[in-house]
């Protein structure tokens, strides 16, 4: 879900996906994990890719969400949102009135 979300708005290559996940979500995806998952998501039709000659001198493989891939990405995000909201309600008493994100009530 995290990988699909990182590709929601832009085309990215592998290292950019890892950096996007780390910067926006603090999610550290193992580099050896990412490429097999990208390969499977592409085989399932959720992603598409192409090799682009880069200024760096070597080509890079850019990925983007396909139209059929957007629906399952959205469904996963909605499921996650529902789950995390219910979990936030559960742990609220433990935070002693402090809302998630550091704001005091």
């Amino acid at each position: 879900m995290a990988i699909l979300a990182s590709l929601w708005q832009s085309r990215l290559y592998g290292l950019e996906i890892l950096r996007s996940l780390a910067e926006k979500s603090q999610l550290e995806v193992a580099e050896g994990t990412l490429y097999p998952i990208l390969s499977r998501l592409k085989a399932e039709g959720l992603l598409q890719s192409e090799w682009v000659e880069a200024e760096a001198g070597h080509p890079r493989k850019y990925y983007w969400l396909t139209t059929p891939g957007r629906r399952p990405a959205r469904e996963m995000a909605e499921s996650w949102h529902t789950f995390s909201a219910s979990l936030a309600d559960l742990v609220q008493p433990l935070l002693g009135g402090k809302q998630l994100g550091g704001k005091q009530r």
Binding site: E28, T33, H58, P59, R60
Partner: protein, 173 residues
């Protein structure tokens, strides 16, 4: 291969310490065997999610079981279902040869499927044993296959792998 190579080149070229970055990226990619294993597992998950082959589903769920809880649960479902189906089938084939000795018994132990025993007092199915148990075996086989396809399709979209190293901190590239 080409993609992994490009990733290594990108990681090294974007760092101020190429030697350190090279060591780190190779460590985080894991061993070639480990990386190949992950590619193989992902390919099996894709194939299995669209397959009706019990052998492929069982093999895939076994590989997936090594990765975490979802895979373990899937494998247990596969093991249970694909054990019950042939077991019930064996009883169906044995019944004509030992009609009074094999059945669905009720007794002091409760309900039991199998051979007659002093604690098993009354046989429940009679002539209906073969069709009922045959249909049950078929239902177990088909139901297990469908359940595995659903579990693999649903669960593998969020499949995660253990980190190849213990380094979970952001790299100082």
């Amino acid at each position: 291969m080409r993609e992994i190579r490009a990733h290594i080149l990108d990681s090294v070229s974007s760092s101020t310490g190429p030697d350190v970055a090279l060591d780190r990226v190779l460590r985080l990619l894991g061993t070639p065997e480990g990386l190949a294993d992950r590619y193989t597992t992902e390919r099996l998950l894709t194939r299995a999610s669209h397959s009706f082959s019990p052998w492929l589903l069982l093999r895939t769920s076994w590989r997936w079981a090594k990765l975490g809880v979802k895979g373990t649960i899937t494998f247990l479902v596969a093991f249970f279902g694909y054990t019950m189906a042939p077991t019930l089938t064996v009883w169906v084939f044995l019944k004509p040869f030992m009609p009074s000795k094999i059945g669905l018994w009720i007794g002091s132990e409760g309900l039991n499927l199998g051979v007659e025993h002093p604690d098993r007092i009354h046989e429940l199915l009679g002539h209906w044993f073969v069709p009922v148990i045959a249909v049950s075996a078929f239902a177990f086989a088909v139901g297990t296959t469908q359940a595995l396809r659903w579990l693999i399709r649903r669960g593998s979209s969020t499949a995660a792998y253990p980190m190849p190293t213990h380094d979970s901190r952001r790299a100082q590239i």
